[in-house]
Symmetry: C2
Amino acid sequence: MADSSRLFQPVSLAAVAITDGFWAPKLRVNRERTIPIEYEQCKATGRIDVFRLDWTPGQEPVPHIFWDSDVAKWIEAASYVLTADPNIAGMDFGRGLDALLDEVIALIAGAQQPDGYLNVHFTVVEPEKRWTNLRDWHELYCAGHMIEAAVAHFQATGKRSLLDVVCRYADYIGTVFGVGPGQKRGFPGHEEIELALVKLYRVTGERRYLELSRYFVDERGRQPHYYDLEALARGDDPRKFWARTYEYNQSHLPVREQSEVVGHAVRAMYLYSAMADLAAETGDEGLRRACERLWTHLCTRRLYITGGIGPSRHNEGFTADYDLPNETAYAETCAAIGFVFWNHRLLQLDCDSRYADMLERALYNGVLSGVSLDGERFFYENPLASFGQRHRQPWFDCACCPPNIARLLASLGGYIYSQNDRDVAVNLYMGSSVKLDIGGAGLALRQETLYPWSGEVTIRLEMAQPLAFRLRLRIPGWCRSASVAINGEPVDLAGVVERGYACLPADDGQPRVWQPGDRITLNLAMPIERVYAHPDVNQDAGRVALQRGPLVYCLEQADNLAPVGRIALPGQAELAARFEPDLLGGVVVITGQTLVADAADWSNDLYRPQRPALSPCTLKAIPYYAWDNRASGGMQVWMPEIT
Amino acid sequence: MADSSRLFQPVSLAAVAITDGFWAPKLRVNRERTIPIEYEQCKATGRIDVFRLDWTPGQEPVPHIFWDSDVAKWIEAASYVLTADPNIAGMDFGRGLDALLDEVIALIAGAQQPDGYLNVHFTVVEPEKRWTNLRDWHELYCAGHMIEAAVAHFQATGKRSLLDVVCRYADYIGTVFGVGPGQKRGFPGHEEIELALVKLYRVTGERRYLELSRYFVDERGRQPHYYDLEALARGDDPRKFWARTYEYNQSHLPVREQSEVVGHAVRAMYLYSAMADLAAETGDEGLRRACERLWTHLCTRRLYITGGIGPSRHNEGFTADYDLPNETAYAETCAAIGFVFWNHRLLQLDCDSRYADMLERALYNGVLSGVSLDGERFFYENPLASFGQRHRQPWFDCACCPPNIARLLASLGGYIYSQNDRDVAVNLYMGSSVKLDIGGAGLALRQETLYPWSGEVTIRLEMAQPLAFRLRLRIPGWCRSASVAINGEPVDLAGVVERGYACLPADDGQPRVWQPGDRITLNLAMPIERVYAHPDVNQDAGRVALQRGPLVYCLEQADNLAPVGRIALPGQAELAARFEPDLLGGVVVITGQTLVADAADWSNDLYRPQRPALSPCTLKAIPYYAWDNRASGGMQVWMPEIT
């Protein structure tokens, strides 16, 4: 077993109120626009009523193998909304959200089969194919999302209506799969249930769910390969697997032997998240080391500057080291969200800021870009450059991303703080208040900041009596100059920064005894930075990106007279940041004098032996997450740099 | 009708012997390795024996809807080999090529149905689906290739064995499709038969084949849209067409209204080739103008420097203007071949060097890259940069490219010269001799050159008596300094260059009367050139490519110590060209001093705020067509340039 005292727990969503100027409006849009719209889409496309099981052959649309998961993620998102505010108003549904959830859950419960099985497609469309193709189909994936939904619903409402359903389902799954006689030694083609089962274990205390998760994780990639046997049993040739390699679903090797992130990016993130969960729950060092290897590989070789991952549309996933094309970047919203999940889990292991840095990079850039400012349109793919043809859509046939971003945003309060018996860690800077219990004593912590526009943060402590604990303040990796003061007295950070967190001590180095009303101020210098990619990122060679604080910037055509694809930044160009309250909900923009390649004298040439002439122009960059909310036009993150 | 005297005819393959130091060895490899290998692949994969129609349900493999076309293209290629040398030796088949063709053709003829229909898949696998989905399936495409094969076989051997089969098939198709009562107003989802029918018309003189071609071309894109009606008739929802737009197969508009190249690139090229054919045969100015618009759009907005076209794997085709990604370039070999076909047809309309320039660009770069130097492996996609993971393959399930390049190379002799009653045009420079008939008088023209390594060309005329004709020598678009001499006497080119061809006159400006033994020498200056892309080609911004003569160069890892992706070329770097006889079959390489981005101090950073340091290194570039013939490694065409 691990030294569990080293572990941190995320402070739960229920204990946190987000009052932030940046995030609170986005969460309101998520609550009031996105989540209702997603319900309506699920309803209108038949995804909800299909749980009545009255679909008949020939009827269109045919319930798809992953429809269940879309509804499940919506339930999960709606449940987080209820958690944050149990008395939330009607949200335009004509009845309370709580009542609506009851209604949907009753439908789902009614679709459960006598043996516990629960999947619409394989109940009404192809019942004879149940569990016959774990490699390609999504039964266990849907089960996982339904479990996550049930856990969130139970935590929000205390109701066991969906929880009991998924427990029965999980118990049934536990009879089907395993190493016992007569059991299938299968595992999911699309990972998800593994992390869900850990959540189910945590909320029920039933260790069999943890064991089932561990079974799925450890069975993965063993020989003889289950997908080979399963294909043969279906009468298929295993070599005809369309993806050609089991790297596609990370089953090419046992997970403990994996050291490179490969295949479908969302699948990878969900698997790795479960591995981190199991490492936390069981102290399994093998899984933890595998996570560490995979994380290092991803972050040093295969990560977009936006926190997006998986460049290829072909496998919705990873390709080769340093292959990070910009225009064709797939960088699925769900994959960036999965990367947030994984980092959040790793962060709890030893409160290392590396993980929070990556979580933050994805959250403020490649995740947040996934939804429009009005909450009504969604990116499935998040390219880093566009010719003007890439736009968010209201919905997708494969609609995984919209409810995924909804559930992440609705649960954002759960990502800000971590704690254990003697530590309180501030992982993210956003205006919020949190109620904590430190060894039985109550503590309220109030955070005020204009982050991500400013690096100034004030934290106030409110408690009935003095309280000793280590307050850990994350010093973000992007910050090269940070200062901290306690009640106005500067703290010497030398020697107190531990794994990227300032651990504020007493004068004698012992955990500090904090006083009611103590005020901690943190100042993170947030200049505009030019960022360069590793020389092996061919697509970014000779190019530069702009970053300020956690935000990656981009040039969008709406702000620039010069075609953004032609803009090149001189090495010495001066750049300035200013807040524009009326732009895109209020953003800090970056402006400066730059150069633009001149196309006027090119007539009809596509190629020619003279390099383009350069003329002066002005540049205005906006945060990447906010692009494609105005007139259609070009966008790019990486600009050529003229040195 | 057109002023037919303005039209040129390609000088046929049968009249030309290629003696070229560059091409003759490649044609020998094509003849002795590629074509036999492709036969063996067709044989081994069941594509040939399936014409016995003895496939039964459940048997693997299932005959695919485009198998017929692979065999047809092989027949066409083999027929061109016979045309060039009717007494060609056994080619390892254990019998003569002529006899082998007879054998394969007999099988095919036996598969023709009593009504004339001929398609394996829709005879043995899904006979009830004949002509039910022109949009997605390949019946008319396969018919087109079979017609091309039959024409080539007839021209090579004088045998009507396959020609009669395809005439019956074409006649049957002519009863099924058309505007008459009871006929289907359909047209092919994958264009091909249109150009094939023009060939069939030319060889048979039967005008109904020309009319059927014109019907298919002009019916395309009319409303109500046939693919909508056809989908409804199948019980499908037309809106569920996977490609989402009829741009995919260029049926979004009537062809005469089209002005942008869109959709699947091979389909587009075959359609446009047929349009050029019809324009040539009928003088149809509307089709010619459409060709001109489409060609201009392609060449000024959507063409790779290699002559590759169609950047996207998704639709195997076109995306947006100036969207020319390098690593992910699809640039299918077949599409570049189709671009050669189209340019070759346009070139005959008025002998404009623009078309020959594009033909040459594709031929020497994006087409020739499609096959390995040993003739045994093939690129389907032709990227302009690689991390080392892209390699030619021995065969493909969808095997369109290998026999396509085989038939183009085997018929290369037909691309060099054009003529009409009073003109002889030299379109391509390659060592060759050709026998011509100028108004009844015989002429032999002998061309000697080391092209593409050198721009010096000598042409000798041999005839029984003096002969008046215009000799047109193409001045390639890449050449900025050309000189011509007749029997050692320099010719003043001012005023005699017409549409990019030097039209060598007499002293009085009239067509020259040539004397037996006349010797024309052409000198095309061939320095190394730095080439830049239009400023709107975002992916090439700040980058430079190297070109010498018609050849585009690339850096391949096998020749360079520095990782090729990190090499950046200073604006003033001196570059030198030298011939290396033992490298890659003998190539001119480009060498020079350059800079390489240093990754040593990056440790594990993927992004950082300091730009990479640059160190000196040497550079060695090879012709693009020759890459991936040695050890696996990176490759790139476009290098960052440091100005």
